[in-house]
C-alpha cells in the first residue's frame, strides 16, 4: 500500500523541480522490498493527472539487484543466498513486512550466509530518480 506514498513522492519531486512537461521518469527501486509495481504504476498514473508537469509522464522502473558484502568476514553474496532468511521474515510478518516498508532495515533481519554476522552492506539499495526526460523544442534528457 505504501506504493502510493512512493508514487506521490515521485510526482511531488518532479513538480517541485521542473517547469516543463515531463515525458518520462526513470525510477530505481531496491529489489528486496518487493514493491508491487502494478500498484505503483496505477498510483503514479492516478496522481500525475493533477498537474501539467507530470500529466503526460511515463514511469519507467528499474530494479537494482543488491550485492551484499559482509564487514566481518569480507565475503560478498547475492539475494538468492539469503532467500530462505527473507522468506522466513515474509511469512512471519505478512504482506507489509519490515523490509518491504523499510529496506534499510536489512541488517537487522538478514545475516551473512558465511559467518552469521548482521554487519552487512548492500550497494545501491536506495530509491532514487535516475533520469528525467522533459519536453523541449526537441526532447532533452536530464540526469540527476
Amino acid at each position: 500500500m505504501h506504493e502510493w506514498s512512493i508514487a506521490y513522492s515521485v510526482v511531488k519531486t518532479l513538480t517541485d523541480n521542473f517547469d516543463k512537461k515531463v515525458l518520462k521518469v526513470t525510477l530505481v527501486l531496491p529489489q528486496f522490498s518487493f514493491l508491487d509495481l502494478e500498484i505503483l504504476k496505477e498510483a503514479f498514473d492516478e496522481l500525475k493527472k493533477e498537474n501539467k508537469v507530470t500529466q503526460d509522464a511515463e514511469l519507467k522502473i528499474k530494479i537494482a539487484e543488491p550485492i551484499f558484502k559482509c564487514r566481518n568476514c569480507g565475503k560478498e553474496f547475492k539475494l538468492s543466498d539469503v532467500e530462505k532468511q527473507l522468506n522466513e521474515v515474509r511469512s512471519q510478518y505478512g504482506e507489509e513486512y519490515p523490509l518491504h516498508l523499510m529496506p534499510e532495515l536489512f541488517p537487522a533481519f538478514l545475516k551473512c550466509p558465511y559467518c552469521g554476522s548482521h554487519d552487512i552492506e548492500a550497494k545501491g539499495q536506495e530509491i532514487y530518480i535516475e533520469s528525467v526526460e522533459v519536453e523541449e523544442s526537441g526532447a532533452v534528457t536530464r540526469t540527476s
Binding site: H2, S5, M102, E104, L105, P107
Partner: protein, 204 residues
C-alpha cells in the same frame, strides 16, 4: 533526486515540530516527550526516533502491535490526543541491531512513510550526537527541548548539545528531570542540584 527525502520534508512542512533531546541517555526524554504530547492543546503526532529501544511504544504498552498501512502511509496508533509512530509498529517486539551507516535512512524512511496529519509533531530522540540530529535538521526547522538530570556528567554532556545547537542558531528550552524526591518532608537530591527552565521531581 531523492524522492523519499522530498516526501519526508513534505510530511513535516508547515508543522510545529518539537524535538525532545539530550545527548545523555536515561534522563527521561521518552517519558517527557510522552507527557508533552499528551498535554498539547490539540492532537499531536509523537514519533519515536529511538529505533533501538523503541521506548515510547513500551511506555504506551503497544510494543507488539503492527500498525496499519494505508494509501497515506503508516497509520499511527491513537492514544487520547496522541498519534504515535514507532518502528515497533513495523518490526514489533524484537531487537533491531543496525550498523551506523543504516541509521539515517531508517529514520528518514520512518518519517517519509508515516501518515502525519496533526499540527504538532513531537520527536523523541535517542541519546548521542548522531544521525537523529542531522536528519531532523535536514528535514525541518524544529524547536529543541533539552532534558538533563542534575548529575554532573549529564550536565556536561548536555553542554555539548547546547554548543552544537548554538552554532545552528537554535535556542533550546531546558528541562531538569529527576531533580529531587520527597523523603518525609525533605527534598532529597540524589543526583545533585541544577536549575533549568523547568525542574521535575523523581516519580512525577
Amino acid at each position: 533526486m531523492e524522492p523519499l527525502r522530498e516526501l519526508a520534508k513534505e510530511k513535516l512542512r508547515g508543522k510545529k515540530v518539537i524535538a525532545v533531546m539530550s545527548a545523555k541517555g536515561g534522563v527521561g526524554k521518552s517519558v517527557i516527550s510522552a507527557l508533552i504530547s499528551l498535554s498539547l492543546p490539540s492532537s499531536a503526532t509523537l514519533i519515536d526516533l529511538d529505533i533501538h529501544t523503541m521506548g515510547i511504544a513500551k511506555l504506551f504498552g503497544i510494543e507488539n502491535v503492527s500498525f496499519e498501512v494505508s494509501k497515506e502511509g503508516i497509520e499511527p496508533a491513537k492514544i487520547k490526543n496522541v498519534n504515535l509512530i514507532s518502528l515497533a509498529g513495523v518490526v514489533r517486539d524484537r531487537y533491531v541491531i543496525l550498523p551506523g551507516r543504516n541509521q539515517y535512512n531508517v529514520m528518514k524512511e520512518l518519517i517519509a512513510y508515516s501518515n502525519i496529519k496533526t499540527d504538532y509533531v513531537v520527536f523523541d530522540l535517542p541519546p548521542g550526537l548522531g544521525d537523529e540530529i542531522l536528519v531532523l535538521e535536514e528535514l525541518t526547522d524544529y524547536k529543541p527541548i533539552i532534558i538533563t538530570t542534575p548529575s554532573k556528567v549529564s550536565i556536561k554532556v548536555v553542554k555539548y548539545l547546547i554548543d552544537y545547537l548554538y552554532e545552528k542558531n537554535k535556542k533550546p528550552i531546558m528541562v531538569v528531570n529527576m531533580s529531587y524526591f520527597t523523603c518525609g518532608s525533605e527534598k532529597v537530591k540524589p543526583f545533585g542540584s541544577y536549575e533549568g527552565d523547568v525542574n521535575l521531581p523523581i516519580d512525577p
